[in-house]
């Protein structure tokens, strides 16, 4: 009987110790989200669209714009509760402005909550699953004559 109780005690101890390991490791290393931000200029001038925009071809096909051009493409890694600022220098009228990406948290359903801020224009918080995309765009962030900027924001990866 004593031997059985000892065995149970050791087993419980080992189980609890094993449970603590991943939490200790997680406490030492913050979660990181990898986010892709593309800067796309859409215009009504007829012409060929940038072949690198194939992944967004279907999403942007709904718009009446004739041509899309990829001005810049950024891949940033942001730690949980931290912010990374992406300069939007390529969008002429936005020179001096930025898109600030904050990794707010990982939600219970596994989605990642990101705050996207374009100072003096837009402040939004979105919830994205892996490979989820939200596109910021419109006349308020113009780029040249008869053009509009679109900023597809894609959640590429989350490290746990």
């Amino acid at each position: 009987m004593r031997r059985t109780l000892t065995t149970i005690g050791i087993s419980l101890g080992l189980a609890l110790w094993a449970l603590g390991l991943p939490h200790a490791a997680k406490a030492a290393e913050p979660r990181r989200a990898t986010v892709a931000v593309d800067i796309v200029r859409a215009s009504k001038t007829p012409g060929r669209s940038d072949p690198r925009l194939e992944k967004f071809r279907m999403q942007l096909a709904d718009f009446s714009f004739k041509k899309y051009k990829l001005l810049d493409s950024r891949l940033v890694t942001v730690e949980e509760k931290k912010t990374v600022s992406i300069p939007l220098e390529k969008g002429r009228k936005l020179r001096g402005k930025s898109l600030d990406v904050t990794f707010v948290k990982v939600e219970k359903d596994g989605k990642v909550r990101l705050r996207l801020l374009i100072p003096e224009v837009l402040d939004t918080t979105v919830s994205l699953s892996l490979d989820g995309v939200v596109i910021l765009g419109g006349p308020a962030i113009p780029s040249g004559k008869n053009g509009v900027l679109f900023l597809p924001v894609t959640l590429v990866n989350v490290s746990s």
Binding site: T7, L19, Q59, L60, A61, G110, P119, V134
Partner: protein
């Protein structure tokens, strides 16, 4: 209580969508003539209306749901956990090791009771298909100055935050 800026914005939106009566439309056209701000807002509304119109037109034309149910079922089958083999394992050991089984069972029970809630947050992965509208949602949104924003989804389910204003 009416808000003059909001009122004019709503009237411009209605004008862009052709929802005003001919008299109201003419009055508004005269009122904004030579006003660069109002004309810019009107251009924004027209651009948005056109984008939304095309979206709605293309939803019906491009929707192809053939194989959708099969794809969903394939994902469910792929992610379904393998059947448990615990029963066979216990049979193999027999009764002589009962104390060890008791200890292992207690440890396992502890692991399940304590670990499941702890790991639930990390292990829960939503099952989503490419282009599923549920892969992005807006938690909050605000704009600055004279900017406005409209959220809509394209025919592919992509969430667009369309920002208007100068």
């Amino acid at each position: 209580m009416s808000h003059p800026i909001r009122d004019i914005d709503e009237r411009l939106s209605a004008y862009a969508d052709g929802e005003l009566s001919p008299e109201e439309a003419e009055d508004l056209r005269r009122a904004i003539e030579g006003d660069p701000v109002a004309e810019a807002i009107l251009r924004d509304h027209r651009a948005l209306s056109e984008a939304l119109r095309l979206t709605l037109e293309e939803v019906g034309e491009e929707a192809d749901l053939s194989g959708f149910a099969d794809a969903v079922m394939a994902r469910i089958e792929a992610e379904r956990p393998a059947p448990a083999k615990a029963r066979r394992w216990f049979e193999w050991r027999g009764r002589k090791r009962a104390p060890i089984f008791a200890a292992a069972a207690a440890a396992l029970a502890t692991l399940v009771v304590v670990a499941v809630p702890l790991f639930e947050e990390e292990s829960a992965r939503p099952m989503l298909l490419a282009g599923d509208p549920a892969d992005a949602s807006i938690v909050s949104m605000s704009t600055f100055g004279g900017h406005g924003a409209t959220v809509f989804k394209t025919s592919e389910g992509t969430t667009i935050i369309y920002v208007t204003g100068n």
